[in-house]
Amino acid sequence: MKIDDKTMQALTASLKFRQLRQELHASNIANAETPGYKAKKLDFEEALARALDVDDQLGMKTTDSKHFNVGGGGFNNLQPEIYEDSNGIVDPTGNNVDRDQEMAEMAENKIMYDATVQLINKKLGLLKYAIGSGQ
């Protein structure tokens, strides 16, 4: 139970990315009537899954202790993918933001954010308990 194991790193990374995603949602909602504005989306789940390599299926095996562990543990260089949504109905002014969908996705992002904070608290709590030897 390390402080900085893969799970904690994944949780803190997902906190950061969900904040960025909230920014984009706010931007989309504010610009729901701006002519020519296209909705923007942020995807980080794939990059995170690759960095986590949950079932040890994607990583490359090393046979010598001097070999670098390629493809694993790269949490500091996680790059989210920010792109403009090409789906969606484009209205006559060139805007394709669906405000209701943005609000629904924002709500989901918020719930997952709360869940992430809860999980961080649980892990930290267990760590503190172990330090205090449960008295």
Binding site: A13, A49, M112, Q118
Partner: protein, 121 residues
């Protein structure tokens, strides 16, 4: 504190199995030994009663396994492979309870040992 309580603790540990949320780490209830039949001198092949230290070691391994599974569940949630928050929360909570129970068992065992050592012979 009698040794039976430790046996009950062990059974409680095994009840918080990981069957609910992962497919691995199924705990086989039938192989848990009965403490009343403990006699390290009896060797009966594969079904020989295990010593107390072996039971503790295997329980520790199970608790550690639950931690590993809980971590995997968290990673799956964070990377979006599952959206089932309740499963993840339950897994983490189970692992935490198992760990804390294990810790209590450890403390009780140490206390019992100290008590025994204090007995005047």
């Amino acid at each position: 504190m009698s040794i039976e309580n430790v046996g009950n603790m062990n059974k409680m540990l095994s009840n918080y199995s990981t069957q609910d949320w992962t497919k691995s780490a199924a705990i086989d209830q039938a192989s848990l030994p009965k403490f009343n039949e403990l006699n390290p001198n009896l060797a009966q092949g594969a079904a020989a009663p295990q010593s107390f230290s072996e039971i503790m070691a295997s329980s520790l391994a199970e608790v550690n396994n639950m931690q590993v599974e809980a971590n995997k569940a968290i990673q799956k949630l964070a990377s979006g492979q599952t959206k089932n928050i309740s499963e993840t929360m339950l897994a983490v909570e189970n692992a935490e309870i198992a760990f804390k129970t294990m810790n209590q068992v450890r403390m009780k065992v140490i206390e019992a040992y100290k008590e025994i050592m204090r007995m005047q012979m």
